[in-house]
């Protein structure tokens, strides 16, 4: 292998499709995959090939494109009313949601300031149709990640006041059967190994930004991937490292 080939390999950007089970892939760096409405974005196309595009028809609720807002790279700024909704439902981005919910979500994101009032990152568009709920600051500085709206399908973590949240980072949240984890830059913040609770309704769509039942402040999101697969620890780490390299984040 020549030096040129090694350099070419190193510079190649991570493609989430190389990890099996990809259901949804949104990437703010791919401007041709987005529909612009002036400086805001009304649609972000799903690059996974599954066609689960994310849209926001209301101009005032559309995220704002910023070409250099994430470590000098492109990003979408979601303010207090902004959201985009993918056509992917729980049935789409979870494996076996009614018997052993399994989904791995990894995103490049950060919030501009630590406002301790329920900063919401992603969740369901209608909780009654199946709840996914992630709030980085739920009560004071407590984090919550909730799958299926049951106590045993929920993890929390208190005292999330450090600056890791306000620095561009790679956030991972997954439930793989009985295992739940929330990681920032590859380090677990909270998790459990005895999660239980399954979905009875699976038609809720995935929303990023202001979601049903959640409060929201501001959030930058540059890339969002969801796998409906029981990824191995090695695969999860590969996705995290791939996104980290792409977005200038040090794990």
């Amino acid at each position: 292998v020549s030096r040129w080939q090694r350099l070419a390999f190193r510079s190649r950007q991570f493609d989430p499709r190389t990890i099996p089970g990809l259901k949804l892939w949104l990437n703010a760096a791919n401007t041709s995959s987005m529909t612009f409405n002036g400086s805001t974005v009304s649609q972000v196309n799903d690059l996974s090939g599954n066609g689960f595009h994310a849209t926001q028809a209301t101009a005032n609720n559309q995220p704002t494109y910023q070409a250099t807002g994430f470590n000098g790279r492109p990003t979408l700024l979601f303010d207090a009313t902004d959201s985009i909704t993918s056509s992917a439902t729980i049935a789409d981005y979870f494996l076996t949601p009614t018997t052993s919910p399994t989904s791995v979500i990894v995103m490049a994101c950060y919030m501009p300031s630590l406002i301790q009032s329920g900063t919401f990152i992603f969740g369901s568009d209608a909780q009654a149709n199946g709840r996914v709920f992630f709030s980085s600051h739920f009560g004071g500085s407590s984090l919550i990640f909730d799958i299926a709206n049951v106590t045993n399908g929920r993890v929390l973590a208190g005292s999330q006041t450090n600056t890791g949240w306000t620095t561009p980072h790679i956030l991972t949240a997954y439930r793989i059967g009985a295992i739940m984890s929330v990681r920032r830059n590859g380090v677990e913040i909270t998790g459990k190994t005895n999660a239980s609770g399954n979905y009875s309704a699976t038609t809720a769509k995935l929303q990023i930004g202001k979601c049903d039942g959640g409060n929201f402040n501001q959030q930058y999101v540059s890339e969002f991937v969801a796998y409906g697969a029981a990824l191995t620890a090695t695969q999860i780490s590969a996705v995290e490292r791939g996104l980290a390299r792409k977005w200038g984040v040090t794990l």
Binding site: S117, G139, S142, A157
Partner: protein, 94 residues
Amino acid sequence: VRCFRTASESLYESIRLQLDAAWGHPNPQTKTITCFDPADVAPRDNAGRLLLAVNDEFATWEPASTLLPQLIASGAVEEITAAEYQAAIEQPTQ
């Protein structure tokens, strides 16, 4: 979002510990130390009053949903707007 303010550190800590007991904190499994920030690290306004902002849903979980109306009715805890909360935490401390 719902935002609250109280001048009583002891009351604040009492509520926090009651909720912790009801919700099983500290929880080594979920790594949740407490349900909201302890008074010594919680945000305060310039008058030294403790400030707390929670997601709407937080206040619907028992026993918070029972305690809150009582605390507000007693006057010991005030519910403030998100704008008031924001303005208070952005004021430079004296």
